[in-house]
Symmetry: C2
Subunit: 357 residues, 2 copies
């Protein structure tokens, strides 16, 4: 593999000094880009796009040719693991992901087993390898997975849910069954992320999209503990390079100290917490990734630049430990030009802060 | 007016000792009760139900005949104020509330004015008087309003929204217009709540359902500051009785200290924060109201009792400053029998805690 020319993102995650604050965006390869929509149309469906390593590679690279981003992220879906477990992932127009066989019966839960990432998820590891080669050392590649609890939400509800009624009823009435789902899923996610690392991912991120819907006690028991188990099982170094891990619980601002205890290198934070306050709370233990409200990207270029600078200013003048990102995935309705404003502002303003001007 | 026989709720809000922890439930008069559905059908529509003082009184009292609740809450909609401002509230099946004339044009925003609560909202003050008489001193009556920011979300978006794109674009690009909407609305809400107090409401609550979607800085500027203004303008005493105020921002757990600074008597908290931790953060400054996840009510009676006791235990053995509630409105799919389990457990267990047994 060629030597990495821009390792700013990796150094920031490891709290090493950088010349500027690196930036990437959750869901940066996506529907707000016309070229993505074109490739997706060519693929036939979202799932076929995910399952074709060549096309997944193509869309992964698209935002990098438009914007001066400091990392690429594997294009994939968070529900690949339960799909590989045999639940039958499919997508409906307007309703998002669904499973043909949601987990409602005790026998089905007892039957769950860890899929071999190199056979059932081969399309992902192949994509990782292909993307890594295509990046040719320009920027690092992030691998990712949904968190066990977030995957369990979809597995038990059978799709998106407004209130997570089934998953919460299981938590309160049959915690043994929920722990069984989460144990198998945590092991599957660990193997899946390690396979991505072995295939070329240079950092990994856990997306805990739904952990924030839990009570404080349930979050620890049913989401955080399993992310902790995963972080402990990750490959820490590859080819002499440390592989940093990022844990992101949307709505997890109350629990930052506990998230830092997982052993991750960085915490993703959404926009509801002031990033300066978050930094004070976690101190030097972890880096922080975030945290612009994606809706700021609907405002004018001047407003985008002002809000972006406000986050950099709030994080403080340090030259270490901050990766700029949105607080959640970019909206499909975002004007692509607005993303350029964000990226340029992060780079320019963070350089200026380091120079004390 | 007859003397109040059960003032446990009011005393708890004022952090005075009580023999047990009082309990009521957000949206306790609602679709999970067959008798409510029957009255609503008779009314013709939800809005006609809200606008008929006799029927609003009828449904307000329904949960009190089933459950041993310690407070009644006026049955109404949070969008009555913008409706009285002329935005034209209506309801569509499955999509919730909508406005015929959402606020998108500068002239319409400049034209906004404070409605006289005794003419345009007479149906509400009439309902408050009628309910208060019907309660006949059994339990206190809570009046309420949506917070200015939450009302502005609906006024600008024209209805419910997934991402609050229009309201956030206005916040970032035209804060002057958003402040104009919020100023007028805050004055309208102050007059509206004071009219409810003058008509018989014995406590008032501000529902800030959507403040939690904002960044920390935007929350202070666009939601909290206006709730602060309202609390400062409320009638504090009536017939020699203090009128306590409750401020509830869903997802506001990060901002408890700032919410306590509004001058409110109590903070409503959702289930994402441990209520014992919340109590430690606010100390003796305010009472707390909450915070069971409404989804717990789908679990078995044993699980409901266990989770209810856990919240009482976490709040601690004190006999003051806690009003038990859900962390959000009760679901329409809740089995009514499960509510009995909750209410009985709160009363029994909190008496036991006070007796140290």
């Amino acid at each position: 593999m060629p030597r990495l020319r821009n390792d700013t993102f990796l150094r920031a995650l490891l709290r090493q000094p950088t010349e500027y604050t690196p930036v990437w965006l959750m869901r940066q390869a996506g529907r707000y880009l016309p070229e993505y929509c074109e490739t997706r149309k060519r693929a036939g469906s979202f799932l076929q796009l995910c399952k074709s390593p060549a096309l997944a590679c193509e869309v992964t690279l698209q935002p990098l040719s438009r914007f001066n981003l400091d990392a690429a992220i594997l294009f994939s879906d968070i529900l690949t693991v339960p799909d590989a477990m045999g639940l039958g992932l499919y997508f409906t127009e307007g309703e998002g992901p669904r499973f043909e066989r949601p987990l409602r019966e005790e026998w089905a839960i007892r039957d769950l087993s860890v899929p071999d990432p190199y056979s059932h998820l081969r399309y992902v590891t192949d994509a990782v390898g292909e993307i890594r080669r295509a990046l040719a050392g320009s920027v690092p590649l992030i691998g990712f997975s949904g968190s066990p609890f977030t995957l369990a939400c979809y597995m038990v509800e059978g799709g998106s849910s407004g209130d997570f009624r089934n998953v919460k009823t299981m938590i309160y009435d049959r915690p043994d069954l929920m722990h069984r789902i989460l144990s198998v899923t945590a092991e599957a996610v660990t193997q899946y992320l390690n396979a991505q690392i072995e295939s070329g991912a240079q950092a990994v991120m856990l997306f805990d999209t739904w952990g924030g819907c839990l009570s404080a006690a349930a979050y620890r028991e049913f989401s955080l503990d399993y992310m902790c188990r995963i972080v402990a099982g990750l490959i820490r170094e590859r080819d002499g390079q440390r592989i940093p891990s990022i844990v992101f619980t949307k709505g997890g601002g109350l629990w930052l100290e506990a998230i830092a205890d997982t052993g991750c290198d960085a915490i993703g934070v959404d926009w509801t917490i002031d990033i300066g306050a978050a930094r004070q709370r976690v101190g030097q233990r972890v880096a922080l990734q975030g945290n612009l409200d994606p809706n700021v990207l609907f405002a004018s270029p001047e407003s985008i630049a002002r809000e972006t600078r406000a986050i950099l200013d709030s994080f403080g003048p340090a030259d270490t430990g901050h990766v700029f990102n949105l607080g959640h995935g970019i909206s499909q309705f975002t004007p692509p030009d607005h993303v350029s404003v964000l990226v340029e502002t992060v780079h320019d303003h963070s350089r200026r802060l380091r120079q004390g001007t």
